[in-house]
């Protein structure tokens, strides 16, 4: 049997199309426990590669023969070795090129919907890390919101669509992933916007993003309008796009809400978070479709792979929007929080422009699951 190599894009299709897949993850148990490739219909077996150095005979019985089998490791080498061993034992097995490192970096652009006058809204789903970025396109122009650090993906997409990137926004100073925003702006001549309250320590120039900041994309006047919505950070700002979509950044997710502690000021910001979720957002139309900057679990994906839901439905279903008692709310978002994202303090430093680590180091910093929410 020969060994096949799969790309991250191949795996992404399996996730989005809800296909079956058997994953043999050969990283060590801690790494697997912490973070793996999630799919609705995926099955898993975690056996570290170093337990298989003497052969795979001991695990053959656990590996299905009626399903596709993908061997996954951190970078590629071990999964290649194990896939080879499986193939020699007569099983059909593939390995993931580039391993979890590449999976963590892969972005799948998916169209969310059409906008007034022929415009389009795309969501870039970073399946391995749970990050969501956005591109609004209309009549040859584009705006990007919450771009992750793989700038070439956005630049290539814009050139495929034959649009010029004019505006680049970050809804807040990110702590869980490195922003590509200002680098895209620098490469294209676009304007880069950041909320000034999050930008007190940044060392580069930016255009202030404040309540009421509005830009138009293309001639048909698709509005991208900013709403100040603090709580995850003090500067956190949301966007209403074309009176149809609400981009919530890290304030409101599909099945959870933002955490206020990643800049060390949970106690101060909990009031703001409450105000945003229980007052500011309530004044908006229930029919806006909420598009967050993250998802936490695979169940938050829609049938087509996008992540988004009507605001009205979230008011009804999202636990974090239904905590009547303020004291309970405060306790939920400040006590017993999940672990903080890997290297979040260093990531903030990078996003402020204070440090510029090499690509390898940036990859290391972003390793691991997304942890921006309180469920």
């Amino acid at each position: 049997m020969s060994v096949q190599q799969w790309s991250a894009a191949d795996v992404a299709k399996k996730v989005i199309n809800n296909e079956e897949l058997f994953i043999l993850d050969v990283r060590n148990a801690d790494a697997f426990e912490d973070w793996k490739i999630d799919g609705h219909k995926f099955e898993y077996l975690n056996i570290p590669y170093y337990e298989l150095l003497d052969g795979v005979e001991g695990i053959l019985a656990k590996i299905p023969t009626d399903k596709e089998v993908l061997v996954v490791c951190a970078k590629e080498g071990s999964s290649m070795m194990v896939a080879d061993m499986l193939a020699e034992a007569g099983l059909k097995a593939a390995y993931l090129a580039g391993g979890m490192k590449t999976w963590s970096e892969y972005l799948e652009p998916i169209k969310v919907g059409d906008l007034t006058g022929g415009g389009e809204l795309y969501q870039f789903v970073r399946l391995g890390k749970g990050c969501l970025s956005y591109m609004v396109i209309s009549e040859g122009e584009a705006a990007i919101i919450d771009a992750v650090r793989f700038t070439e993906v956005f630049l290539n997409f814009a050139s495929e669509k034959n649009v010029k990137i004019k505006h680049v926004f970050d809804t807040h100073l990110h702590a869980d992933h490195i922003s590509g925003g200002r680098h895209i702006a620098a490469a294209t001549g676009a304007t880069y916007y950041l909320p000034p309250k999050d930008a007190e320590e940044v060392v580069y120039d930016y255009e202030p993003l404040v309540n009421g900041t509005t830009v138009q994309i293309g001639a048909s006047n698709i509005d991208v309008g900013a709403i100040y919505s603090p709580g995850h950070t003090i500067g956190s700002t949301s966007f209403v796009v074309d009176s149809k979509y609400l981009l919530t950044g890290d304030i409101l997710f599909i099945d959870s809400i933002g955490r206020p502690d990643l800049a060390g000021l949970a106690e101060d910001w909990v009031e703001d978070l409450r105000e945003t979720l229980y007052k500011r957002y309530r004044e908006l139309s229930d029919d806006l479709v909420v598009l967050p900057a993250h998802f936490m679990i695979i169940d938050e994906l829609n049938e087509d792979g996008t992540v988004g839901k009507r605001l009205g439905e979230l008011f009804a279903e999202n636990h974090g929007l239904n905590i009547e008692d303020e004291v309970t709310f405060r306790s939920i978002v400040t006590d017993n929080l999940p672990p903080q994202p890997n290297a979040y303090q260093e990531i903030r430093q990078v996003n402020m422009g204070k440090i510029t680590p090499a690509q390898d180091e940036q990859t290391e910093m972003e390793i691991g699951p997304n942890r921006c929410a309180v469920r």
Partner: protein, 184 residues
């Protein structure tokens, strides 16, 4: 500080799984109790070597990092956990703290460097005969190793050399939960 290891394996520049594959091969040539130093540049090797050592029963001692080169230390253990208690008297680890005697740590230099009890003297088992004159026969000596096996042997050797106030500490450093002094 430079550390004494019995063997050195250069796995620099190799990526996963090769550092572990080579370590496994190298360990096969060591005898029980010897120490292997593995040089590697693959960052993932740190967690993997520790986890691998545990699954096969060897003792992962620790890792140092200098100029992006990791140095992993592993001690070969074939049946280290089986402790045959032969030497009397013994003393419980908790009772040793605060006593006036000498804590004599007979583990290998590298094990000592990665964590020992404050004030302990390091004389690895293999160096005992050469350094026995450093010890005071009038002082109480509490001999400690990782599990109590090497210290049992050393305690017997000390008595044979005319030391009277010798105790074997049980259990050994595996049960120590207090502060660990590192000299690496």
């Amino acid at each position: 500080m430079s550390i004494k290891a019995d063997f050195q394996l250069d796995a620099k520049g190799l990526s996963c799984p090769m550092p572990i594959v080579k370590t496994k091969k190298a360990m096969a040539d060591l005898v029980d109790g010897q120490i292997l130093e593995v040089l590697a540049t693959d960052k993932g090797s740190r967690a993997d070597i520790a986890a691998w050592a545990e699954t096969v029963g060897h003792r992962y001692i620790g890792t140092t990092e200098e100029d992006a080169v990791l140095k992993h230390y592993i001690r070969k253990c074939e049946n280290d956990t089986i402790v045959e208690k032969a030497f009397e008297p013994t003393i419980e680890l908790v009772e040793v703290v605060g006593k006036n005697g000498l804590i004599l740590d007979v583990r290998e230099e590298v094990e000592f460097a990665f964590g020992h009890i404050d004030g302990a003297l390091s004389i690895p088992l293999g160096d005992l005969e050469a350094r026995i004159s450093e010890l005071d026969k009038e002082q109480e000596i509490y001999v400690i190793c990782r599990t109590g096996k090497r210290s049992d042997f050393v305690a017997q050797r000390l008595v044979a050399n005319g030391f009277a106030k010798v105790y074997n500490v049980l259990p050994g450093m595996t049960a120590w939960t207090g502060e660990l002094i590192k000299t690496i």
